[in-house]
């Protein structure tokens, strides 16, 4: 793997006896067998996940009562190397040593990292593989030709199996948090989906407006369109009124047959009627039933009336 950082990652061996870690650098930790239990089991399952389901009951008879996390590696068909560890115990120890969490790159089981050695001495303690399981040798047993490793373990080729440790304390169960997270995620997705639909509707409506503009050959702005409409609306309304007024006036001939309409004139949005031989009061009353009179006067014997539209 090509590392983008030129800094070498420190590799440190973490034991329960470790009292101080001064390094303030990025580091990988190797957990001493103090922190975990390892066993090889032959299980009637094929996958790692199925094996994981069986581990709590398998370890139950070996371990003191506590809350454990489990991990497993498939060695061969139906043979699994299994680990049990107390997450909080390891986390508390790391906190006690005041190692910043951000400085920890990865954590490994010692079981997998010292495979090239049958036995070795580290921090004046001997470790050896017994039936493929790394164990700590009691201090009263003398070291026998075991290589002594220095505290700096950078030369080790670390494995791919990392400890799936949770490096934080949670008040609420992770299960409920993830359930809530899934719910919120789903809710957000539904909302985003709705937002996209609404956006689509807005775009469609904008296009529809453009289509209508083209179809009806409307002026470029709504202000122009409204101005044209309001201008002509008034003129159309007046023209309709003129028609009604003329029809109403001419109907008067049926009431007073002698009445003679000399002239009806529509000009500058007003209607002027000149009538002869009509009873002035009767005619005025007839008009006022429906319309307002602007002016009424006589020119010789002809009555001239100007009407409001």
């Amino acid at each position: 793997m090509i590392s983008l950082s030129s800094k070498k990652i420190k590799v440190l061996f973490l034991e329960k006896e470790t009292k101080k870690i001064i390094e303030n650098k990025r580091m990988s930790l190797i957990l001493s067998p103090d922190f975990y239990w390892a066993r090889i089991f032959e299980l009637p399952v094929k996958s790692v996940s199925s094996a994981l389901d069986l581990l709590p009951s398998l370890f139950e008879e070996f371990l003191p009562k506590n809350d454990y996390s489990y991990q497993t590696i498939k060695l061969e068909d139906k043979v699994f190397l299994c680990f049990a560890y107390n997450n909080d115990e390891i986390f508390n120890h790391i906190q006690k040593l005041k190692i910043p969490i951000s400085n920890i790159k990865d954590i490994y089981f010692a079981q997998n990292e010292f495979q090239p050695y049958e036995s070795f001495v580290l921090n004046e303690t001997m470790f050896t593989y017994v039936n493929s399981i790394l164990v700590k040798v009691p201090k009263n047993i003398p070291f026998e030709n075991a290589p002594v490793l220095t505290k700096n373990l950078e030369e080790l080729k670390l494995s791919k199996t990392k400890v799936e440790l949770t490096l934080y304390k949670s008040l609420v169960s992770k299960k409920y948090i993830y359930l809530l997270l899934s719910f919120l995620f789903l809710l957000s997705c539904v909302n985003i989906f709705k937002i996209l639909i609404y956006n689509d509707e807005i775009i469609k409506n904008t296009k529809e407006v453009q289509n209508i503009k083209k179809q009806y050959n409307l002026p470029s702005t709504m202000i122009q369109t409204n101005s044209i409409i309001s201008n002509y609306d008034k003129e159309i309304e007046n023209n309709i009124k003129i028609r009604e007024q003329i029809k109403y006036l001419l109907f008067y001939k049926k009431i007073e047959k002698n009445a003679l309409f000399e002239k009806i004139n529509v000009k500058n949005q007003s209607l002027i009627v000149r009538v002869k031989n009509a009873n002035k009061n009767k005619f005025k009353q007839y008009i006022e039933k429906k319309y307002s009179i602007k002016k009424a006067y006589f020119i010789k014997d002809t009555l001239q009336i100007e009407l409001f539209l």
Binding site: I177, L184, L187, N191, I212, L218, M222, Y232, K267
Partner: protein, 129 residues
């Protein structure tokens, strides 16, 4: 190794959900406005089309006037076409024919710029556009 506390993720997703609800509400209002504006726009467009096609359709007005004149061939009718209007005048001593002409004029969709009715003459100036 899990370094990120899921509570932080929960907080992040809560914020995202709130933002999504807020944006959704804004979009909802925007869509409502867009539909209202479309509906008002179509109404205005229909109104505009009605004015342009019925009352200010130059060709239609000319066709209607010609049809009106054809139906009254025997009478003395004069027509004068200007750029923006048409003037027509009918002179007749026959009150019934004059009245029929007037009725046809009043029943057509013309915008009168001028209308003058006397005992023997009906004169109208009709807007073309």
């Amino acid at each position: 190794m899990n370094k990120i506390n899921p509570l932080y993720l929960l907080l992040l997703f809560t914020v995202i959900t709130f933002v999504s609800f807020f944006t959704l509400e804004l979009k909802k209002n925007e869509v409502k406005k867009s539909f209202a504006s479309l509906s008002s726009f179509s109404k205005t467009a229909n109104e505009y089309a009605l004015i342009k096609n019925v009352w200010l359709n130059k060709n239609k007005i000319k066709r209607d006037i010609n049809a009106l004149l054809r139906s009254l061939t025997s009478e003395q009718i004069t027509k004068m076409e200007l750029l923006d209007s048409i003037k027509i005048k009918m002179e007749s001593k026959n009150e019934k024919k004059l009245s029929a002409f007037l009725n046809k004029l009043l029943n057509a969709n013309f915008l009168f710029l001028k209308l003058e009715i006397t005992q023997n003459v009906v004169f109208a100036e009709i807007r073309l556009n």
